[in-house]
C-alpha cells in the first residue's frame, strides 16, 4: 500500500528523519511511536507532501509520490489529521466536512454559480455525506456550530470526519487522543477500529498514549532521533531493548 524507502529529511543539518524504511500493508493499522522530536510528524508531513524529502522515495499503491504537491497526494486518497488541530475555525462543522469532499466532486465555477442540475445534485450529495460523517463521529447534533467553539476532543473527532470526507484509502492520524480524557480515549479507540473495518481503511497512527497504540495496532514502528529503531508486533516492540532504552534512558 505505502512503502517508505530510505526516506531522509534534514533541516539545516538537523536530521529530522534519517534513512527510514518500512512498508504498510493494505488494511493494516500501523502505529508510529517515539519520544518527542523523534521525527514522527515530519514523517507524516513528508508522506502528505507538506515537506519535501532530502533523499529517499515514497511509493503509494505502486506509484512514486515523492515530491508531489499536497493537493495531488490528497487526490490520490491519502488523508490526514494534524497534531495541533487545523480545522477551518470560523466555519461550521458541516462546512469543514463538506470542503474535504473537494477531490470527490467536480462542479466548476460557472456550473456551480448558475446552478446546473448536475451541480445541484452533487451539492445535495456532498451535504448528505457530510452529515452522515458527522453522525459517524458523534457530532450530528451540532452541524451549524463553528468549529472553534467545539471542545478539544470534539475538534479532534471533527478533524477525523473531515479527513474521511475525502474517501481516503490511507488515513494518517497524528496524535488523535492528545488532550482527551480517559473516557474519550476509549471511545476514540472504538471509533478508529470501527471506521477501519467499516470503510476498509489502512491507517497510520501516531500516538503517545501507549495502551491505546498497543491495543489498536497490528504493527508498530519506533522512531528515535529520526531513525527507525524497532519495527514489529506490539508485544515484541514492547520488549525491545533499544525501545526501552530510547524511552527510559540507558542508566536504568
Amino acid at each position: 500500500m505505502l512503502s517508505v524507502e530510505a526516506l531522509t529529511c534534514s533541516f539545516g543539518g538537523v536530521m529530522a528523519v534519517s534513512r527510514v524504511s518500512f512498508s504498510v500493508q493494505r488494511g493494516e493499522l500501523f502505529g508510529l511511536i517515539g519520544p518527542n522530536g523523534a521525527g514522527k510528524t515530519t514523517l507524516f508531513n513528508l508522506i502528505t507532501g507538506l515537506s519535501a524529502p532530502t533523499a529517499g522515495r515514497l511509493r503509494y499503491q505502486g506509484r512514486d509520490i515523492t515530491g508531489l504537491r499536497p493537493h495531488r497526494i490528497a487526490g490520490l486518497g491519502i488523508a490526514r489529521t494534524f497534531q495541533n488541530v487545523r480545522l477551518f475555525g470560523e466555519l461550521s462543522a458541516l462546512q469543514n466536512v463538506m470542503i474535504a469532499r473537494h477531490v470527490r466532486t467536480t462542479s466548476g465555477l460557472v456550473g456551480g454559480v448558475i446552478g446546473l442540475p448536475s451541480a445541484r445534485a452533487e451539492e445535495r450529495e456532498t451535504r448528505r455525506r457530510a452529515l452522515a460523517l458527522l453522525e459517524l463521529v458523534g457530532l450530528a447534533d451540532r452541524p451549524d456550530e463553528r468549529a472553534r467553539n467545539f471542545a478539544y476532543g470534539d475538534q479532534r473527532r471533527l478533524e477525523i470526519a473531515r479527513a474521511l470526507a475525502l474517501e481516503p484509502e490511507l488515513l494518517l492520524l497524528d496524535e488523535p487522543a492528545a488532550g482527551m480524557n480517559s473516557g474519550e480515549k476509549r471511545s476514540l479507540g472504538g471509533l478508529i477500529r470501527g471506521i477501519r473495518t467499516r470503510l476498509g481503511l489502512t491507517i497510520l497512527l501516531i500516538e503517545h498514549h501507549v495502551p491505546l497504540v498497543m491495543d489498536l495496532c497490528d504493527r508498530i514502528a519506533v522512531l528515535n532521533f529520526g531513525e527507525l529503531i524497532a519495527l514489529g508486533a506490539p508485544a515484541n516492540v514492547q520488549r525491545d531493548a533499544a525501545v526501552i532504552e530510547a524511552y527510559l534512558g540507558d542508566e536504568v
Partner: protein, 312 residues
C-alpha cells in the same frame, strides 16, 4: 425625488460602480489574498472601451448604441481576464503584504504604460467618448444590473464547491491543500474573476466619465477600494457593497455638513477636501476595532438577513 435624482445623478451612479469595484477586491480576499490590482484592470477596461468607441466602431451621429457598450464590456472583460491570468500566475506565489505590494506595483506600471503609449492618448488620454444615454442618471440601466449580477454571483459562489475551496484557503491554506484543494488554481481563479469584473466596470466608467486617462484607476483608487472592503466588511459580500455605496457618498455628505455653516473655516475646508485622509483614518481605526469590518456574517445573522452557516 426627481430633483434629488437630477442633482445627485453623477454621485448615485458612481456609488453603484464603486460597490461593484469593491466586490473586485472582495473576490481574491475570499481566498485570503489581499490584492489591490483591480484598479489596474479597471483602467485597462476603460481604455478598451475608449479605444473601441472612438477609434474602431465609428458609430453614426446621435446616441451611441447600448449594444456596442455591452460588446465593449465583454471585450474589456476578456482582455482583463487574460492579463489577470498572466499577472496572477507569478504574483500569487507571493503572500500577504508582498502580494499587496506587487499588485500596487502592477497598477503603477499600467499607469506609466498608459501615459507613454500613443494608442492611449498619452498624458491627455482619450476624450469625447460617445454617450449611449441622454442623461447621466440613465447609466443606472447598466450599473444596477451589473451590481445585482455580481452580488448574485458572489452570493451563489459562497455556496458552491469552488467557493468553499476559496474560503478554505482563506481559513488555513495548508489544511485546505491537505484536503485536496489546489491553492494556485483557486487563487488565480479568484484573481481572474476579479480582473474580469473590474474590466467590465472600467468599460462603463469610460463612457460615464466621458474621458479616460492615466489618472483613472490609480493607487488612490486602490486605497478607496481597501477602505470600502476593510470598513464595510471582508467576510461577507454585503460588506464591500455597503462600504462602496456609503463611502462614495460620504465626501458629498461631508461637503453638505461643511456648507451648513457655523464651523471654523479650517474644519469646514478639511471636511470638503480631506477625503483621502478620512479614508486613511477609517482604514486604520477599522482594522484595529473591527478587523472583519462593520458588516459581518454574525451581524447579518442577528438582523435575520444571514443564513445559518450550516446552510451554506
Amino acid at each position: 425625488m426627481a430633483t434629488f435624482l437630477a442633482t445627485y445623478d453623477f454621485l448615485l451612479v458612481s456609488m453603484v460602480l464603486a460597490a461593484v469595484l469593491a466586490l473586485t477586491l472582495y473576490l481574491p480576499l475570499m481566498a485570503g489574498q489581499l490584492s489591490v490590482a483591480s484598479p489596474g484592470f479597471y483602467a485597462l477596461g476603460g481604455y478598451v472601451a475608449a479605444i473601441l468607441s472612438t477609434k474602431v466602431f465609428h458609430p453614426a451621429p446621435g446616441l451611441y448604441p447600448v449594444s456596442l457598450v455591452l460588446i465593449e464590456m465583454a471585450v474589456a472583460a476578456v482582455v482583463s481576464g487574460i492579463l489577470g491570468i498572466a499577472v496572477g500566475l507569478p504574483a500569487l506565489r507571493l503572500r500577504g503584504i508582498f502580494l499587496a505590494l506587487a499588485t500596487i506595483a502592477f497598477v503603477q506600471i499600467l499607469g506609466v504604460v498608459a501615459l507613454n503609449l500613443d494608442v492611449t492618448g498619452g498624458a491627455i488620454g482619450i476624450f469625447g467618448i460617445p454617450q449611449p444615454f441622454g442623461s447621466q442618471l440613465q447609466y443606472m440601466w447598466l450599473a444596477i444590473p451589473l451590481l445585482l449580477l455580481s452580488m448574485l454571483f458572489v452570493a451563489r459562489l459562497e455556496r458552491t464547491r469552488t467557493g468553499r475551496a476559496l474560503i478554505a484557503l482563506r481559513e488555513d491554506e495548508l489544511a485546505a491543500a491537505a484536503m485536496g484543494v489546489d491553492p494556485t488554481y483557486h487563487k488565480v481563479l479568484a484573481f481572474t474573476a476579479s480582473a474580469v469584473l473590474a474590466g467590465a466596470v472600467g468599460a462603463i466608467s469610460a463612457h460615464f466619465i466621458n474621458t479616460w486617462n492615466s489618472r483613472q484607476g490609480t493607487f488612490d483608487t486602490s486605497v478607496n477600494l481597501m477602505a470600502f472592503v476593510l470598513v464595510g466588511g471582508s467576510r461577507t459580500f454585503v460588506g464591500p457593497v455597503v462600504g462602496g455605496l456609503v463611502l462614495t457618498a460620504l465626501p458629498e455628505a461631508l461637503r453638505g455638513v461643511a456648507d451648513v455653516g457655523g464651523l471654523p473655516p479650517w474644519f469646514a475646508q478639511f471636511l470638503r477636501d480631506g477625503r483621502l485622509i478620512i479614508f486613511g483614518v477609517l482604514i486604520a481605526l477599522g482594522t484595529v476595532f473591527f478587523p472583519h469590518g462593520l458588516i459581518t456574517p454574525g451581524l447579518l445573522g442577528r438582523l435575520g438577513l444571514g443564513r445559518r452557516t450550516g446552510r451554506v
